[in-house]
Symmetry: C2
Subunit: 386 residues, 2 copies
DNA sequence: ACAGTTACCGCAAACGATTCCGATAGGTTT
DNA sequence: AAACCTATCGGAATCGTTTGCGGTAACTGT
């Protein structure tokens, strides 16, 4: 029998079952339960990062004082402050951001959701976001939706669970319902859309010159003498696709060229689509003499095919597209593009979001900041001037 | 005068200075100080996410019980457990990851440091890391060193401050001292190197077939009849550059080709270097008939220049390089590469790290996992067979 | 000398979740 | 029926920081 933990006596002690593997006792007299500690086994002390309490003990002050000193608060004696700072340095104190975040209710982290990090455009955006964020003292957590609605929803949940201070999002090609965003928007979470924005939600947005870019590219083709211009448009659900499509239509209209449904193909970001669309067009009774692909990669892929067939670019078919990639410049023939600036998109979006986070209450929404693009005319569309 | 907060009497109350803007009083009798609360001004209640305590109150149980139910612990009545789960669902409870992390001492987050997210290789690696990490329930924080040593150090500090559970790193081209890593390694932080690894540190590493790739590419050039092979090597500080360089040297040696210092140029990832190196080589008394660039982009840039000069590829000069980019395939002429698999590198590194995190104690280091590459012979080096 | 004031600091309660213990109530054994 | 057990739950400490508020000593002016 063991000694009671209270009266240190064994007289009235009786066994009282097992608890988590240990024998349990009960002292009738003291009305107390207890288990016996297995001797030893208590040495495992973790390495332990220095905390504010360590500093406090070290100097014989209260943790609150240390906190005040470290955070440069008022009510503190400059002398003690210096002393604390010194010890903090000596003990290599690093504040525990988790504890800070928990206490302050903000994580100084922003979440980013993009369809795919491997797309150079988004990588560029990310770089811009990172740059702006880290300058403002914010960390960045990145999620990829992989172009699926479901994953996007999971991403949002994961980021909100991580208690990010704000959200930057470019929707997946599938996304047509926005409840998962609305939910958190209504709770007051700052959210900024970029590139693949949506109009149904009342968020600040960063877009590009999608309409103008399309319009300029198509008009350029027309000026080069193209009469039948095909368009490889983006997924229909995306607003950005529709806007670009409208630019195409508008340019045709302005120049009195009839719109032909046969010349429209809505891509879905699948690899084989380029050759499918191209073949369809080339087999038409009167095939196009100009092709506008919303995504530069499609133009390149098509040009590869067209070159194989010994069709002359740009004389027989001219190509233009949106893009920001080196390949457009280096490919032979070089591709005329409406050049995009993903880095700027990222910077703009991030700064908008951070503004929003900091001035949460009285944030006057600034909708639709537009990052300008640039029409770069190259060999794929530039026909010899007569 | 105001009523004492204790005796609720005004008799012995006297003013006692100002405290944070409010008038302060002192009750002699009760020996008590107090300030008067400005009426109102107390309504600002935050929206408040449901917590474990809300659930507990809702059911009249203790928070600890709720925690046990939610975490599927033993010692809990299935009935209460169901009840708790139900309420949790109804109240849309989401655990506060911050609080969990603080308590458990782990964040379920891994930090990644890469030189530049815009380099497609690293974007690919990131995608692999993300995939593996999110499957294992880990979040990912990404930092860019921008190829500078100083930023890399700051990155490490930032990530450690965020209390990441482990670190994945590919060093900047400048990094030649590794104290900033060693420091945390010694504290027991799991760290895995990938791609740009370093040998001075006792960490698991994920590398590629750098030696073999170089060797194969150069040997291929030799088999195609090249006698003088130039190399555009990487920054000298990087181990990966040195390894690749050694592969080059070894291939030359095997085939009895003399090593010529004139044919070596160490790149530093600066844009103009391609033309500088190329010009230098072309102006040599006996210029190279084969060029091996460690980075495919340099090969492409050089080929652009070479094409302008009407020098024939591959007949007069053949090109090969490391790479994983579409442009290598689409460029004219298509580039022979030792194809890399960044996504796999990322996956491997992440799984190694997560293994390391989970089995922290008894982790048997598995050094140098190698992700295999693939020699893809294309037009830039394939001379007409006689 | 004393009310009134200031400067500085400590205490303790948050933040949200986990977990070690001990406390019950109701069984089972002898 | 006493002795022992099990299942289940509550209390309180803990993680590391921040912060509201009260306490104390010393200082100011009259």
């Amino acid at each position: 029998m063991s000694n009671c933990s209270k009266c240190d006596n064994t007289d009235h002690v009786a066994k009282a079952g097992f608890l988590r593997g240990k024998q349990r006792y009960y002292c009738k007299q003291c009305d107390v339960h207890f288990t016996v500690e297995i001797a030893g086994e208590k040495i495992s002390r973790k390495p332990h990062q220095t905390t504010i309490i360590d500093i406090a003990k070290h100097l014989g002050v209260a943790p609150s004082t240390v906190s005040r000193a470290l955070n440069n608060k008022a009510e503190i004696n400059p002398a003690t402050r210096q002393a604390i700072l010194k010890v903090a340095y000596e003990l290599d104190y690093k504040p525990n951001l988790l504890a800070q975040s928990l206490n302050r209710g903000e994580t100084h982290t922003i979440g980013v959701i993009i369809p795919n990090i491997e797309r150079p455009f988004f990588a560029g955006v990310l770089a811009g976001i990172q740059h702006m964020a880290s300058n403002a003292g914010y960390r960045v957590i990145i999620c990829q939706s992989n172009e699926t609605h479901q994953t996007e929803i999971l991403n949002v949940q994961a980021l909100m669970a991580s208690r990010v201070d704000g959200l930057l999002i470019s929707h997946s090609k599938e996304t047509s319902s926005f409840e998962h965003i609305k939910l958190h928007l209504n709770k007051g979470v700052p959210i900024v859309h970029f590139d693949r924005v949506c109009n149904e939600l009342d968020t600040p947005k960063v877009i590009q010159e999608d309409f103008k870019g399309s319009f300029d590219l198509v008009e350029h083709l027309i000026e080069q003498g193209c009469k039948r211009i095909a368009i490889m448009a983006g997924p229909e659900r995306l607003l950005i696709s529709r806007t670009r499509f409208e630019g195409y239509v508008a340019a045709l209209k302005k120049h009195g060229i009839a719109f032909d449904k046969e010349l429209v193909y809505h891509s879905n970001f699948i690899k084989e689509e380029s050759s499918i669309a191209l073949n369809r067009w080339l087999n038409l009774p009167n095939p196009p003499d100009g092709i506008f692909t919303v995504h530069y990669a499609n133009a390149i892929e098509m040009m590869v095919e067209v070159k194989k067939r010994k069709i002359k670019i740009p004389e027989e078919i001219a190509f233009v597209g949106f893009g920001d990639e080196l390949i457009a410049e280096l490919f032979d023939p070089s591709l005329t593009v409406f050049h995009l600036f993903p880095y700027q998109v990222g910077e703009t979006a991030a700064s908008l979001l951070i503004d929003n986070i900091i001035h949460k209450e009285n944030f006057t929404h600034q909708y639709s900041k537009t990052v300008k693009g640039e029409l770069i005319i190259r060999d794929s569309s530039l026909r010899k001037q007569l």
